[in-house]
């Protein structure tokens, strides 16, 4: 097959020992029902991302994203490497000497195209189509369940008390929100797949919306108190979403991640928990 770098990759018929070097590839692999032979730790994490931990707890870690240990990779004797999002041509060249390597997406591609490329490399297109159908159904059901809130604006923010950042229009979680037909606030429409620079606290109204999903990075130690602390800030207390009790604290590593199909389902799950009246 041809991957996103334009390289012609000779992928094996039935790959069995597949290493997924990015979070999104790991996600795709698991969604397609394959046991990964190895993976890297998630961005900003020491382990596989929390939302995949249940399924991928015992997968060997071969280093950090962008810095896989080639030695450990060789030891794993993979017959296929999925290396989405890797910008380093030299590193990709080295990987190709270890095993056929498919670069499944470029940094600004969306999760679906990455998922499709992974499915093609693994020869599991049928499962891919079935999964997408399940996802579409889930989106339709959830949209119906949200009901009156279907026109709500949803703000997605990575919280930092010294300057919060909102997720740009084409970031991963933003695309899931868009699939649901929910809108982002007017101030969060700029294109881009990452987060904004730290906002001035004087411009905090830019993170306001009918709903405010606040991603915090850790939920242990006193980092747990991040939201509590935020509520002590008059500027934060004045937000409409805060006054209406529509602030939802979510796992920042999921909501601000470069997730794949299972991450998309996990985001839908969070939205259901928060927005569907019980």
């Amino acid at each position: 097959m041809t991957d996103v770098t334009g390289a012609e990759v000779a992928v094996p018929e039935q790959p069995e020992r597949v290493v997924a070097l990015s979070e999104r590839d790991l996600d795709a692999l698991l969604a397609l029902g394959l046991d990964p032979a190895g993976t890297t730790s998630g961005r900003g994490q020491n382990d596989v991302p929390g939302y995949l931990r249940e399924r991928a707890d015992d997968v060997p870690i071969v280093g950090h994203f962008m810095q896989p240990s080639l030695g450990r990779l060789v030891e794993l004797q993979p017959d296929l490497i999925l290396a989405g999002g890797l910008p380093d041509a030299q590193l990709i060249g080295r990987l190709r000497r270890i095993a056929p390597t498919v670069v499944t997406y470029r940094a600004d591609d969306d999760w679906r195209s990455a998922f499709r490329n992974a499915a093609e490399a693994l020869g599991r297109e049928q499962r891919y189509r079935a999964f997408l159908e399940r996802y579409r159904q889930r989106v339709a059901d959830l949209r119906a369940a949200i009901g009156a809130d279907a026109d709500a604006t949803v703000s997605i923010v990575r919280w930092n008390p010294r300057g919060p950042m909102y997720m740009q229009h084409d970031a991963f979680a933003s695309t899931v929100i868009r699939d649901l037909g929910l809108a982002r606030p007017a101030a969060q429409q700029e294109p881009g797949v990452a987060h904004s620079p730290p906002l001035s606290l004087e411009a905090l109204e830019r993170i306001d919306g009918d709903w405010l999903f606040l991603g915090t990075l850790r939920r242990e130690g006193d980092a747990r108190r991040a939201l509590e602390r935020a509520r002590e800030m008059p500027a934060f207390r004045g937000l409409r979403a805060v006054r209406n009790g529509r602030v939802v604290e979510v796992d920042g590593s999921l909501w601000t991640s470069l997730g794949g199909p299972l991450a998309a389902l996990a985001v839908l799950e969070d939205i259901e928990q928060a927005m569907v009246p019980r």
Partner: protein
Amino acid sequence: MTAPRHEGRSARLLAGALVALVLPALVVLSLVTGAGEPGPVGSLRYLLSAGSVPDAATADTVIRTLRLPRTAAAVVVGIALGVAGCLLQALTRNPLAETGILGINAGAALAVVLGITYAGAGTGAAYLVWAFAGALAGSALVLLLANAGAATPLRLVLAGIALGSTFSGLTAAVLLGNQASYDQYRFWVLGTLSGVDTGALWFIMPAVAASVALALLVTRPLSALLLGDDAARALGHHPRVIRAWVALAATLAAGSAVALAGPIAFLGLLAPHAARAVAGPRLGVQCVLSGVVGAAVLLGADIVARVVVPPFEVPASVLVALLGAPVMIWVVRSNRLLRLTTSGGGP
């Protein structure tokens, strides 16, 4: 012979008066400048009318809970870094000395990383405590190491550099194994005054006040020390005791600064040089002026940090380097780099 001296003095007086006027002007500018409402005119009206304007609630939130704390923090941190830099350059007889040199910043960074990684530190208050403790511990270790044997300024600098590198290495080692910590740390390490907590400010104020008072008390014996240890002893001072007090004052000041705002490099180097260029040879005057210059530069940098890419913020630490460099170049170009060792009068 006397005429140029007088000219020099009046020029210095003028410069001093200017600097003293600039700071209040910057404070007002800081209170009326920001990414949000009210704008400069509305803010001024709010300030002049003591809060009785139509949209007072918003103005109150923005000016009282956001702009006032960061303005106060910029002044306090700027004074602390300026005074600490001045003391450290005199203490080490080294014009390259700055607040990083006693292992203060590196110690604070290491403590913050340890706090994040092993104690779950994640709020401003927790960073503050860890950073302050780390700064004190780092400086104490450097002093212990330097004072084992004959303490000289050179030993102090070398011990500071050695331990500072060790702390930085340990910090990097801990971060390498903990990506999650790195993700938090990278926001702390870019020193900023945005979102400064008023409680944190009150926590740090006594330490800064104590360090400034201490600095004023030790500048006279410290000037004697600049003539050399033997000369100082001949004048009846005890070099070791003086060094310990100076180091304590500098550590308290620099530790408070890094705890409140994160590391802000370059200011502790720049402020004393700029102050020396206008203040003349007396160390006490130099250190006071250095504090004022530090406050003015940091406040100026923080104002610019709010207006370059609104509604986003640039870390003040980045702007201090950008704005400070031209000032430093001016000091160097204008031949005003007075030699430290001659500041006691005569070579």
